[in-house]
């Protein structure tokens, strides 16, 4: 009998000891990495309109002050794999050359479960930073300077964001409330960037993706991705005054990317159907409302800076069961595909799965990310315009979307 009490006491003590070894949950501290300094790049000065006769005069005259715009850094949104709740924000500060991961968690320790699940898009408008968190069904809006949460806007299955005239426009797979739960069509929501409230909604095609504003009209690429037997082929055109779809432009099946150029063209990518129709890139003339050029290159991501479109192609085909990967450039003035790759071979050989791309409009430094196997921390590469690698740095999981932080100062006041 005595023996038995001893054993029981032992068991209890043993379990109490085991119960003690659990750490407290902690807010993850951001990890910092010091990178080489950015070269000073003089941004192009905004041209002042000066009447001609004044210039010919030889005497001194005081002209209005100059404003100088420069880039001070960028935010990088890491998607994080679905169901992992691992969307995260990194910040790269040009001035200190410090690369910081997990800046959201540090700035917002009180937010329940953090930034959320699958960070799908990012944008900066004014002093606010907008992130579209797809599987968390929300828009998370922060202060650009502090990364502190300002507002959370609920939008189910939200995808991409763009801005114009004080408004933000967000595409979402989920149907418009009021049309009934069973509509397969998606929507675009309009948000006032001052009050951060949804002002209007419009129904578009099925599973809408990227969107852009040109001349008072909003263009949305529809994918129809939920119906592989019947993909959507159109870009919906929305008049921003009436906030109604006024027309549709037929492009190709399963559209995804949509970027506007300064001259008012749209670069629209099609994912194809992963079988006999390959991924392609199209140029849409917004005045004629039709496709004016086609590039037979797989396009998974692109960015347009100056006269160049930088195109990352990683297209998958179920017919060959392989990925086709390329890093191409298009001269958008002449709509001509350039022969060069925009990456040095050392980098393209190293990248497992190219994902995000951005180009600093002033220095023309190229930033490209490698999502690797989608479940490990990714890598960010910086390549200067002479194709030398400036640095590479570890990011969060699936580094994907960039937002440059601009600073405008007025000198000679």
């Amino acid at each position: 009998m005595k023996h038995y009490y001893k054993l029981f006491a032992f068991t209890i003590i043993f379990t109490i000891i085991l119960s003690g070894c659990r750490k407290d949950d902690i807010i993850l501290p951001p990890e910092e990495e010091q990178l080489p300094p950015q070269e000073e790049v003089l941004p192009p000065q905004e041209e002042e309109e000066v009447p001609e006769e004044e210039e010919e005069e030889e005497e001194e005259e005081n002209l209005p002050p100059q404003t100088v715009t420069s880039i001070v850094g960028f935010y990088l949104l890491n998607e994080g794999n679905m169901a992992m709740n691992k969307a995260s924000l990194d910040y790269y500060d040009y001035e200190t050359s410090v690369y910081k991961t997990n800046v959201y968690g540090q700035a917002n320790p009180e937010s329940t479960l953090g930034l959320g699940d699958v960070g799908n898009d990012i944008g900066i408008y004014g002093s606010k930073l907008y992130t579209v968190i797809n599987a968390s069904n929300k828009l998370e809006i922060m202060d650009v300077a502090t990364t502190k949460r300002l507002e959370v806007i609920e939008i189910k299955n939200c995808r991409y964001i763009t801005f114009a005239e004080g408004k933000a426009y967000v595409s979402a797979y989920d149907g418009v409330i009021g049309l009934g739960q069973n509509t397969p069509n998606g929507l675009v929501a309009e948000i006032d960037t001052a009050t951060l409230a949804i002002t209007r909604r419009v129904e578009v095609g099925r599973q809408p993706e990227e969107l852009a504003v040109v001349d008072g009209k909003l263009y949305v690429a529809n994918s129809g991705g939920y119906n592989p037997s019947k993909y959507e082929r159109t870009v919906s055109v929305i008049d921003l005054n009436s906030f109604a779809v006024v027309s549709e432009i037929d492009v190709a099946p399963n559209l995804h990317r949509l970027r506007a150029t300064e001259s008012g063209d749209l670069y629209v990518s099609s994912r194809g159907n992963y079988f006999e129709i390959p991924s392609q890139l199209f140029v849409v003339d917004t005045k004629e409302q039709k496709v004016k050029s086609t590039f037979d290159i797989p396009t998974s991501n692109l960015t347009i800076v100056g006269d160049t479109a930088y195109i990352v192609g990683s297209a998958f085909s179920y017919e060959t069961f392989d990925w086709e990967i390329g890093y191409r450039m298009i001269d958008i003035k002449n709509e001509k595909l350039l022969e060069d790759s925009f990456l040095p071979k050392s980098v393209s050989d190293e990248i497992e799965m190219p994902y995000g791309v951005a180009v600093d409009p002033f220095s023309k430094n190229i930033y490209i990310t490698d999502a690797r196997d989608y479940v490990s921390p990714g890598t960010l590469y910086c390549i200067d315009k002479n194709k030398t690698v400036k640095f590479k740095v570890k990011t969060g999981d699936i580094p994907a979307h960039f937002a440059f932080v601009y600073k405008t100062i007025t000198i000679n006041k």
Binding site: H3, K23, F321, D397
Partner: protein, 409 residues
Amino acid sequence: MYSSERGLPGAIVANRYSHNQRQWDRNLFVHASLENSFFKNHDLLANIKFSRDYNRYVDPEYISLDGQLDNRYYQSEWYASLVNKYSIANWWEVSLATDFAKNTLSANLYRFPYPTRYSYFAALSTQMQWERLHIQASMLGAYVDEQVKQYYKGDNQKVFNPVISVSVQPFETSDFRIRAFYKESFRMPTFNDLYYTFVGNSSLRPEFTKQYDIGATWIHNNNSGLLRTASVQADVYYNRVTDKIVAMPSSNLFRWTMMNLGEVEIKGLEINTDTKFDLPRDFKLNLGLSYTYQKAIDITPKGSTYGDQIPYTPNHSGTVTSFLGRREWDLHYSFIYTGERYSQKANIPVNYVQPWYTHDLAVGWNGKLLKTNVRLSAEVNNLFNQYYDVILNFPMPGRNVRFNLSITI
């Protein structure tokens, strides 16, 4: 025959705390076997089995032109095996086993490949048994032929897997034995792994494992006294897994959900003890302890996570189970401990998952009510109401209580 319908748990992530996806399953199987002997020292065993599984998944938040997502999968299997056993001597036995299986899968998906898999296995094995030495050796040859009606298919596979195991009794007493084995095995990606995605499969390679194990067992039985049985088993092992198949949630319907993890090396130690006591006044007590130490690291050459512990594999885990019984009453207590883990390949703070441990308590009564055998029991699981995740973002139940009444007619 088995049928079920249930709500599926979804990841609990920021701003999303409930899910409404549902799943239905229905399984049916028939099975027949035959045993015969054609000549002296010969044994024949034949088995045949047919099974059909139906599986349906509904996601009301995924609305396409056809309404909410409603995927249905039908899987069927024909399986036949034939085992011939022949005893050469009373200590030596050889056997030849041949197996054949045909699996098919169909689904209501667009461009579904409709795969059929023919698997052929043949295993030649021998067993030698002396009083203090047992030896078993076998060689398995497998050929897997994968066919699809359209599009992509998994590769055909040809494999040979040897197995050898030895058990020795080094001393006079039969309580103590030493055992060791070497085993090669492989695991084909299942139809679920390959074709249960929305569009397409995941071109997985089969997983290969080599296992080395050495261990000792000590089992002692007493016919009288307080301590009736005591046993200790301890093993150390070294495993090498190539192309380990792991499931990873995926962020995009067009992307992989399953992946091969390259090369994994596992070094482990496992200890199990079990004791049974006969206490005075008809009390019986069982006490079992088990502990596992496992170092399972990714050693994929040039991988970014070289040297890291693989996901969801704790270094330390263990259980304590105990049972106290007296006549028709019994009391169970168990404790499960799973040490700290990482949710993904990289062993970095963001992927850290807390250890978890639960205390479960149950009390039961067996007896007769109205001449039928009745068992009544009450359980309290997760007694101290600890919050824990077995898989990150899928929280497990807190303290819960369960009552059972079972009647044997």
